[in-house]
Amino acid sequence: MRPEQQGVDVAVLVSVGRHPITGRARRADQDARGLELALGLERQLPGSRVRLLHAGPRGEESESALRGYLGMAAGAGTGLDTLTLLEQAEGSDAIPALAQHLAAAPPQLVITGTRAERGEGSGLLPYALAERLGWPLVNGLAAVEKVENGVATVLQALPRGQRRRLEVRLPAIVSVDGAAPAARQSAFGPARRAELEATPVAAEPDQELAQWQMAPARKRPKRLKIVKAASARDRFKAAAAKAEGGSGQVLEGVSAEQGAEAILKLLEAEGVLR
């Protein structure tokens, strides 16, 4: 007989996303995948509870983006009709507010996206939270297989479709990326009716961020892949092949001049500099 699985208490951290082409606010792709994972968990483990948490300023644009998450719970039978908004001034550090809120009523599982679509977008939030709370962290989660006796069995996504099965003691923080199941459609009606429960929290200005200079990202130069293939089979092999490192070299304990020289040499060899 299978051991009885009990529902888990899940908190999903959601952020205001940014559409890659138009820059409009939207539900962030990875966070939405995180919520999808949580809703799937709820289906798998009856009695689970999902709550949504966001720390940041409240504005018209961000509110409609956050409601996008609430629209995903349409009739899922979850009672997920509120989102807890830890209201902070623009430019505040979200980590202390989130850590404090999570520590006050600890869920068993915290799900977040890997990297925010706007703001700093460093991808450090899950790590910083895990450090503060002293909880284990699993990144790149693809699925939660089961939760038993306070231990979750999860599948971690590795490059090229590989999966690694891990056991993690709860409470834990997990982050999801593009390998997690795609988010379901967000329904307008439930999103509009749902409530944002705003709680003002002490704003700790993010001193470091304030000193940064923001500039639009430049497209990174991409190495051209020149395929000299005679047959279709060769072309297919070239397209499917792993990016070969091979000729690279690891420089350790070298001076700045030596490093710069090595980089210059490589750029000349690649024909980037002439």
């Binding site: 559409h19 082409i21 138009t22 409009r24 939207r26 629209g71 995903m72 349409a74 009739g75 379901r184 459609q185 967000s186 329904a187 307008f188 009606g189 439930p190 509009r192 009716r193």
Partner: protein, 654 residues
């Protein structure tokens, strides 16, 4: 004996009919309120019935005459019967009229019986098969009972046995014709149909008008349920409309999704709504089922869901998503039922409340929200196809004679060819035009037909605000979907414009002598009427006039004009992509093949895409704008002198 029995029978039947009518009306009133001018509707009803409805019925002459004889005979016979036999006005003149009426009805019922001997697949069977017998029972018994009244037979002719048999037959006839009319028999169509015509949700359709734009959903009340979840979420006059269905199956015969083997049959859908409004299962339905879906597995109730989130309810979601909104069923329906409105109402619930738009639906809607076009392209790239054309932008010129609306075809490489051809034509005719360029957004057509009214209204309001910044005489577009939405659906949101399809505008330019064509040298050509140009906007002539001006004789397809068969590209059907046994565009290209045409002229980017997607097609697909652009010549040499002389006049015209 009959003198005492007949009034009892007649008034008993009438009393039962009144009780049934009251019960039926209570069923309809489960629906949401609707604004209907009741008295004006009732006053207009006879004209709507005799003129507008018979205009549709009259497309089938035999059935039309049959119906005139049967229904006319019945109404006259019923009224006279109440006077003569019910109230005892045994006047020979009235009796004679009653004899004539019942005889006419009997002749009509013979034709009904003939029709029912080998009925086409589109007709429902079941209770409908007994209708000719019931009609005969009524007309014959009324005729025989009336004979003594006019003195053809003595009052005491025949024995009491005969009288009893005659009464029994009359009871059958009265039961079907009077009692059954309000208690749900086949004759229900007369009662519900008459009221449906009176309280129709689109009164503009009568008297030669046209009303095809979808009605806006009120999004102001943030607590309200959006769209139709249960049968009682329809307005009461929609429920009444469903109840008016005669199950003639003309909709089924023209439905492209049904023909393609997709799980939709408009007739069954309407009958399912009738099942829903009364509560029960669809097991009693006796017509063609949804392809691939056996009858008897679905059930519903007035306050139960129409589409279940899981499992089965009244209708499966894929039935609703199979519709291409081509409006062929509405055009063909002799009862003037609004199928497409009902389907979109139910889709609105699925999208806005369930968040369940199938296949690529969710992605397309997300794109529309984030990038204002269904493909998710960079809105800034909307004018890339015209980089070398130096198109005047509204933002620069502020006003123009013609605003050229590009539509989302601006992102599609095939449609870009059409657009370039159209620009060439406009320039040849020296039209003063400008485009919105990157300020243009999707018109909202696809979002609305996928049920996402919120995105539609958002797009529409922003487009209206953009258009309000500029001055122009008219909008011209090569996309009938944009044409329809801008012309017929923006009005409710405050945007009223004069919109022309490019074929209409080119025809006008040609008539004004501003375009000159080289004679046509190609092979035979047929023309495919886009649904959103033809049935939605009544424009059948202008494209044909343009082709005629090009010197092309159109080899018409069997289904053309208002009966044109859909290409399968409307209503978001290519996005929701419900599988069937065949593809709709394949069937349409087969229609083209049967004319032997080497080229099919179209006037819609969707139709072009769908028809060009057909593998091994026998005909080439060209937009009318492309044909016109190819045939353009400078003014003919002989006319050049005149033209030079007329130049000032021509300028005045513009």
């Amino acid at each position: 004996m009959l003198e005492t029995l007949l009034p009892i029978l007649i008034f008993a039947a009438l009393a039962l009919a009144v009780v049934g009518a009251w019960r039926r009306i209570r069923l309809w009133r489960q629906g949401r309120p609707a604004e209907v001018d009741l008295l004006r509707g009732l006053a207009a009803m006879p004209r709507r019935y005799l003129v507008d409805l018979h205009h549709v019925v009259g497309r089938d002459k035999v059935m039309s005459n049959t119906h005139v004889a049967t229904a006319g005979g019945f109404v006259a016979a019923a009224v006279l019967m109440i006077l003569v036999h019910g109230l005892g006005l045994a006047n020979p003149v009235l009796g004679g009229l009653l004899l004539a009426a019942s005889a006419t009805m009997f002749v009509g019922s013979l034709f009904v019986a003939k029709r029912r001997r080998n009925p086409p697949a589109r007709l429902s069977r079941g209770p409908w098969m007994r209708l000719p017998k019931s009609l005969m029972a009524f007309s014959l018994s009324v005729f025989l009972i009336t004979l003594p009244t006019v003195g053809v037979l003595p009052q005491d002719a025949g024995s009491w046995v005969l009288a009893l048999i005659l009464s029994a037959v009359l009871v059958w006839g009265l039961g079907e014709m009077v009692f059954g009319m309000t208690w749900g028999g086949p004759m229900k169509h007369a009662f519900a149909g008459a009221l449906h015509l009176a309280f129709h949700r689109r009164p503009e359709r009568f008297g030669g008008g046209r009303s095809t734009g979808l009605m806006a959903l009120n999004l102001d009340d943030s607590g309200a349920k959006l769209g139709v979840e249960t049968p009682s979420d329809f307005t009461w006059n929609q429920l009444l409309g469903f109840d008016a269905c005669v199950q003639c199956g003309r909709c089924e015969a023209v439905c492209p999704a049904f023909a393609a083997g997709q799980p939709l049959n408009p007739k069954k859908l309407i009958q399912d709504m009738v099942v829903g409004l009364a509560g029960g299962s669809d097991a009693a339905y006796a017509g063609s089922p949804y392809p691939g879906k056996p009858v008897g597995e679905h059930h519903g109730s007035p306050h139960g869901p129409i589409v279940a989130r899981e499992g089965k309810a009244l209708v499966d979601a894929e039935t609703l998503w199979s519709c291409t909104t081509c409006r062929a069923c509405v055009e063909e329906c002799p009862m003037m039922i609004e199928h497409v409105d009902a389907i979109v109402d139910m889709r609105r619930f699925l999208t806005l409340e369930h968040g369940n738009t199938p296949n690529k639906g969710a992605e397309v809607l997300d794109n529309l929200i984030a990038t204002d076009n269904p493909g998710g392209f960079d809105p800034g790239s909307r004018l890339h196809w015209a980089a070398d054309l130096n198109l005047p932008l509204m933002a620069d010129v502020k006003q123009a004679d013609v605003l050229l609306w590009l539509g989302d075809g601006a992102f599609d490489m095939r449609n870009q060819r059409t657009l370039r051809a159209l620009v060439k034509v406009l320039r040849a005719a020296e039209v003063e035009f400008a485009v919105l360029g990157v300020e243009e957004r999707d018109s909202g057509d696809v979002a609305r037909r996928l049920g996402d009214e919120a995105t539609f209204q958002s797009l529409a309001r922003r487009n209206i605000a953009t258009l309000a910044k500029y001055r122009f005489q008219r909008i011209v577009t090569c996309d009938p979907h944009s044409f329809h939405v801008l012309g017929n659906e923006y009005g409710e949101l405050g945007g009223v414009y004069e919109v022309r399809h490019h074929s209409t505008y080119i025809a006008e330019l040609f008539e004004a002598g501003r375009l000159h064509f080289a004679p046509w040298k190609g092979g035979s050509v047929t023309y495919h009427d886009p649904c959103y140009l033809g049935r939605y906007n009544g424009e059948y002539e202008a494209p044909r006039n343009v082709l005629k001006a090009l010197g092309i004789q159109v080899a018409e397809m069997e289904r053309s004009g208002f009966r044109s068969r859909c290409c399968g590209g409307g209503g978001g059907a290519p996005i929701t992509d419900i599988p069937g046994e065949r593809r709709i565009p394949d069937m349409r290209m087969n229609d083209v093949k049967q004319t032997g045409a080497e080229l099919v002229a179209v006037g819609c980017p969707q139709c072009t895409a769908m028809l060009e997607g057909v593998v091994d097609a026998t005909a080439e697909v060209r937009d009318i704008a492309e044909l016109v652009a190819d045939a353009l010549v400078a003014r003919p040499a002989a006319a050049a002198v005149d033209a030079a002389a007329n130049k000032t006049t021509a300028e005045e015209v513009t």
